[in-house]
Symmetry: C2
Subunit: 533 residues, 2 copies
């Protein structure tokens, strides 16, 4: 595919088929339809469906082959497993519909997990032996013999507790396309699990995730800069997977790879020409306050004048790698690289979305308004503070300003109700009124600081992006009003964005104190909003 | 290091120090000496060694830090482990003497293996639960809850059976130099184990080997051609590690990377500029019969005239990866690459040493000669066949020819004794006598064919190189007289070499029948020697 074709693709804004090699192929849908039926209606098979018997037989046979190849991959001895049987399974799996993949994965999870009779037998043997060091041992040759037996049985027990499907994963991983295929299998599993929990499949997923985590160890990943000179087949993936600030056209893409910009990706040798995760960097004079400055500054400043590397977008490309933190080492390595390349750059910051802010705020406003109504409608706002779960999250002067400015745009008995009505999507009419903007800014900025610094789940920041950067060793530097006025930005965080700053000399210390004590480092400016100075 | 320096290095024929980054550093030897003593003499510490107290304290402190950093890497929570503590351990380990490394590794093997109290507690919990499917289950929501508990406990048990030192391995593997470091740790372990078996360390080794095998999955390895344009730092490694046919000078090296030659290496992204294994290929008109043709054909033929790719040397570079078969996929991938690049090449063969032939033959000759003497010295050779373990491995006409031709060079009552005396190193005088050469050729060629095709250990070819190629799917094509007249070639196999042939269309089939039935495919020419046609 050349760059002209890429341009056409971008105009068409279609999901290119060949991007997802392992996605469902439309030609096999009919086949799958029948396969699925033939399985579902097994009880009626001897009835009126004679006319379809032949076609079904052929299709059943085809599915039989897929299960058969899966079984072969698992049960053959390792020297016997050739590429042909792996290919057969790989291609067979890809030809299945989602429903048939689901059935196959459930078979794998339930019928290829453990040989529990063997586990129990080995446990019996194991419990019959005295563990080393349990009695005074002389350390002689006889003991070494006993110890060898003990370690052997312990090892056998450990191996017997590995699910049988590990063999499938291990063997697929030796296939040239195997790692990519395994991540797409995991993407399927995650989709299935969103429909409802299935314990056996959940167990399989957690096992597969462990394996993928080892295989994708940072040691096996290579950091490369992505430039306009890279193949269009790679660049179209950047366009396709950019998750934070969509790339709107070819000029936009070229801009993000050109002067004053950098793009780095983590690659694995088994998944060539496709970054697993990539990060976009802008070289600036100061830490940007709005995403507009970053995406549409034209012309960019000379690179030699830059003092700040701003990470403005991090996107992962493989849904099947969800929950595997690849970004941690990425940011550290990019910082190292940029420092070597451009010693005049001393500030490493992000301009990040706050994806969970509005969700948290709206649910807080809704529940508090409801509480207030239900428990005591007649009390004055000041009296309500006595109620057990009630909390007026607005300051008195914020409440007053909201009531004064809302006018016709939003009704409500309290400041919180008004705020809830104003902020509830889909419209964002408040952004068109200067009066509302100035009434909303103080409570929104204050509550955003509170959300980022104080709202936690199991000791970690509630916001997923905040948690990501904090565990990587960043600090909260600044929150920016009207920093992302896109539909998405307004929906997620009322347009507010945040700068996290990475100080190379503090990265380890901050990551550790965040981890061990849940401590969130932040600047004076952000702390000031919530007066925890 | 530039190529001039490389040339100087090769003239000096020294082992370059920096090739083995993790090897013992001479400057730390004195320190180690004292460390080692201070540990060994702990009981006498309060005695006459007062003068050394201060120095010892300092050194003990230094060693304390190394053990402490090992402990930290293992016991810290994963988000807390930073590069600094990994570096501390890595550098600390490298500064230790072999003896102190031994002590540290034994501590690791014995004190960081399993928490066996926890294992027993989890076994108790596990045995208290009914495994899924053991009773009729309705598949309802309640069952899913029970199953989740069951899988969780099973998973906990599995995790508890993983040695604690796995954490050290996993974390080192995230360090940029970690994988290389782990292979050198394994090399140390293997050296320690050659001195005597230690069950706990053997168990640690087998665990580390499993981990390395997963990390070095073919999916994580990249195949690259190595050329004269590569950095000298890489080329010196080729010179240093070439294990089959030593590279004698810079012209020899250049020749092996030039016209009519190829060199391919398997690289891992975590071990840059150092192939884990490499293979040397000659492009020829016919399958070479002697190594002289390959190493000293001058000038080589035009590449366009070649029809045969001859693999004449495979060397692995990491002693710490012993027992991990990297070569299998290497050969398959090189064949694929060469076929794409040069479609006129249709024959893929090796010219291989037979490293175990003479060892097998000499011990066979020695034991049979002894048996003959001990059991019945007076019987005629024909009568001896009745003895239980006795086997005259020579044919009557071979025996006669040997007795006739040996003259003053070797004494002996039987053909076998004469043969034993002639072939026993260190001299190879028989190679200077045409009479002896022609008397020895028939039995040596016949017995070599027998050794390759019939002598087995646990169903596999006794010869390690034969086993390697046969399990990769090759066949035995031809054995070649006086094919390697170097000292090493004469010692290993009386100068005989063998051609294995890879037929791309048969590779899988041959590998499978070798594996499952121990079947060794061979040509008519080789079978003829032992008349198994």
């Amino acid at each position: 595919m050349n760059k002209k074709a890429l341009a056409i693709l971008m105009r068409a804004r279609m999901r290119p088929n060949h991007l997802t090699n392992f996605a469902l192929s439309p030609i096999s849908n009919e086949l799958n339809q029948i396969l699925s039926n033939s399985h579902g209606n097994r009880s009626g098979e001897n009835g009126e469906h004679h006319a379809m018997e032949h076609g079904k037989e052929k299709l059943n046979h085809q599915r039989f082959i897929i299960y058969e190849s899966m079984h072969s991959v698992i049960s053959m001895n390792k020297t016997e497993v050739g590429d042909s049987v792996l290919n057969e399974f790989l291609e067979g799996y890809c030809s299945l519909s989602f429903e048939n993949r689901r059935k196959l994965l459930l078979t794998l999870a339930k019928e290829y997990d453990l040989n529990r009779a063997q586990v129990r037998e080995l446990i019996k043997q194991y419990l019959g032996l005295q563990p080393p060091g349990s009695e005074a041992q002389s350390g002689g040759v006889a003991d070494e013999g006993f110890l060898s037996t003990f370690y052997r049985i312990e090892r056998n027990l450990r191996h017997s507790l590995k699910p049988v499907y590990e063999t499938l994963f291990e063997r697929l991983n030796t296939h040239p396309e195997g790692l990519k295929f395994l991540t797409s299998i995991r993407a399927d599993i995650l989709s299935i699990l969103t429909e409802g929990n299935i314990a056996s499949l959940r167990a399989l997923d957690s096992y597969l995730k462990e394996k993928l985590t080892t295989w994708l160890s940072p040691a096996a990943l290579e950091l490369h800069q992505i430039t306009w000179d890279d193949p269009a087949s790679l660049l179209e993936k950047i366009v396709f997977y950019e998750a934070v600030h969509p790339i709107s056209n070819l000029i936009d893409l070229k801009r993000r790879l050109g002067v004053g910009r950098r793009c780095f990706g983590y690659f694995h040798s088994a998944i060539p020409r496709e970054p697993l995760i990539f990060i976009e960097v802008a070289l600036l004079k100061n830490i940007a306050e709005t995403i507009q400055e970053v995406l549409w500054d034209n012309p960019p400043i000379a690179e030699s004048e830059a003092t700040c590397a701003l990470f403005y977008s991090i996107s992962s490309t493989q849904p099947g790698l969800a929950g595997i933190n690849l970004g941690k080492f990425l940011i550290k390595r990019v910082i190292t690289l940029v420092k070597i390349d451009m010693p005049h750059i001393s500030v490493f910051a992000t301009l990040s979305p706050i994806p969970g802010f509005m969700q948290w705020l709206l649910s807080k406003l809704a529940s508090q308004s409801k509480l207030a109504k239900a428990e005591d409608i007649s009390r004055s706002p000041a009296d309500r503070s006595g109620l057990t779960f009630y909390e007026n999250i607005l300051e008195p002067e914020e409440e007053r300003a909201l009531i004064d400015s809302s006018g016709d745009l939003a009704s409500g008995k309290s400041g919180m109700e008004i705020m809830l009505n104003l902020l509830t999507p889909p419209t964002h009419e408040w952004t068109n009124s200067d009066k509302l903007l100035s009434a909303l800014k103080p409570p929104l900025m204050r509550l955003c600081a509170r959300y980022l610094l104080q709202e936690k789940k199991r000791g970690k920041a509630l916001d997923s992006v905040a948690n990501f950067h904090l565990q990587n060793g960043a600090m909260v530097q600044r929150i920016n009003w009207m920093a992302d006025q896109s539909e998405k930005g307004l929906n997620q965080s009322a347009g507010i964005m945040v700068n996290y700053v990475y100080r190379p000399e503090n990265i380890e210390e901050y990551a550790q104190s965040y981890f061990s004590k849940g401590h969130i480092h932040s600047s004076y400016d952000v702390k000031r909003y919530i007066q925890v100075l």
